[in-house]
């Protein structure tokens, strides 16, 4: 498997996730997505990501829980994290993990440029055995 820079999109809103996947796929990124913190941590356990776009307010396990889990991981294996915020959540972020905040409603161009810029400074990595290829999320997923 060739080294790659893969992104993980984590948001419980199907339409927001579809929007992010659509615009980032157009830029040629390899993408996975998760609908909540549980799925996100599962993905993070099986694959290595250059960057995670993380919504905070999600059911089951929220974005703060995902950040806490990341804090327990080896520094060299942590992805960069870009947090999507509505601006009302408490901002208790570890700056060693969270590289930036993007306020909703996000400007699509700014979001894509920010992600592109962040990903530039990361190294491509080979995925571990057992990491599935990125697949386009079926529209019916809910």
């Amino acid at each position: 498997m060739r080294p790659e820079k893969r992104l993980l999109i984590v948001d419980d809103d199907d339409a927001i996730r579809a929007l992010l996947l659509t615009v980032l796929r157009r830029r040629g990124f390899r993408l996975d997505s998760a609908r909540n913190g549980v799925e996100a941590i599962e993905r993070l356990r099986s694959c290595r990501y250059a960057l995670v776009v993380l919504d905070l307010m999600m059911p089951i396990v929220n974005g703060y829980d995902v950040l806490e889990w990341l804090d327990t991981q080896p520094v060299t294996e942590r992805p960069l994290v870009l947090v999507l915020t509505a601006g009302l959540e408490p901002k208790r972020f570890d700056t060693k993990i969270v590289v930036g905040l993007l306020q909703k409603p996000f400007d699509v161009d700014l979001l894509v440029d920010t992600i592109s810029g962040c990903v530039l400074v990361t190294d491509a990595v080979c995925q571990p055995d057992g990491c599935p290829d990125p697949a386009n999320e079926p529209r019916s997923a809910s």
Binding site: D14, T22, V23, R26, G87, P105, D107, V108
Partner: protein, 150 residues
């Protein structure tokens, strides 16, 4: 009633509205248009839209008037509001009212793809309103010569 998701274009500029309508009517969605906030709110009172493309640069704050009016009219409405605006206009947009922002000039194929992908996943209310036929459907039937107004 068509099962395609419905999309509303709220745009006072004739050229932009025509362009957006033309782009979107070729997607698997039903498309309606509105010129003013009042016109748009009348449409949203008759139909559950999956997505609305709203120009925030319209005169007299009509874009903002529509999104505020929509939230009052349908507090539990699920419509995904895609705002478009000049990047020089960086007025605050309430995240409770607007889902995402696209800058002008619009990248046509991206708008088409975004609307198609997002509209397909927005959930409809359990008891959706019986929408009138979409403008895009009427236009298509007129072009085929099979539309009889009644």
């Amino acid at each position: 009633m068509s099962s395609e998701p419905r999309v509303l274009i709220v745009e006072s500029n004739d050229a932009l509205r025509a362009m957006l309508f033309t782009i979107l009517r070729h997607q698997p969605v039903g498309v309606d248009t509105a010129v003013t906030a009042a016109d748009a709110l009348q449409k949203t009172s008759q139909c559950d839209y999956a997505l609305a493309v709203v120009d925030m640069d319209m005169a007299d704050g009509a874009g903002e008037a529509f999104v505020r009016g929509y939230r009052e009219q349908r507090p539990d409405g699920t419509t995904f509001i895609l705002a478009v605006r000049d990047p020089k206009n960086d007025n605050y947009l309430d995240p409770d009212l607007v889902s995402a922002v696209l800058n002008k000039p619009l990248e046509i194929d991206m708008v088409a793809e975004l609307v198609r992908e997002c509209a397909a996943v927005v959930p409809l209310p359990e008891d959706p309103l019986p929408c009138p036929p979409a403008e895009s459907d009427i236009r298509a039937r007129m072009e085929r010569g099979s539309y009889i107004a009644n």
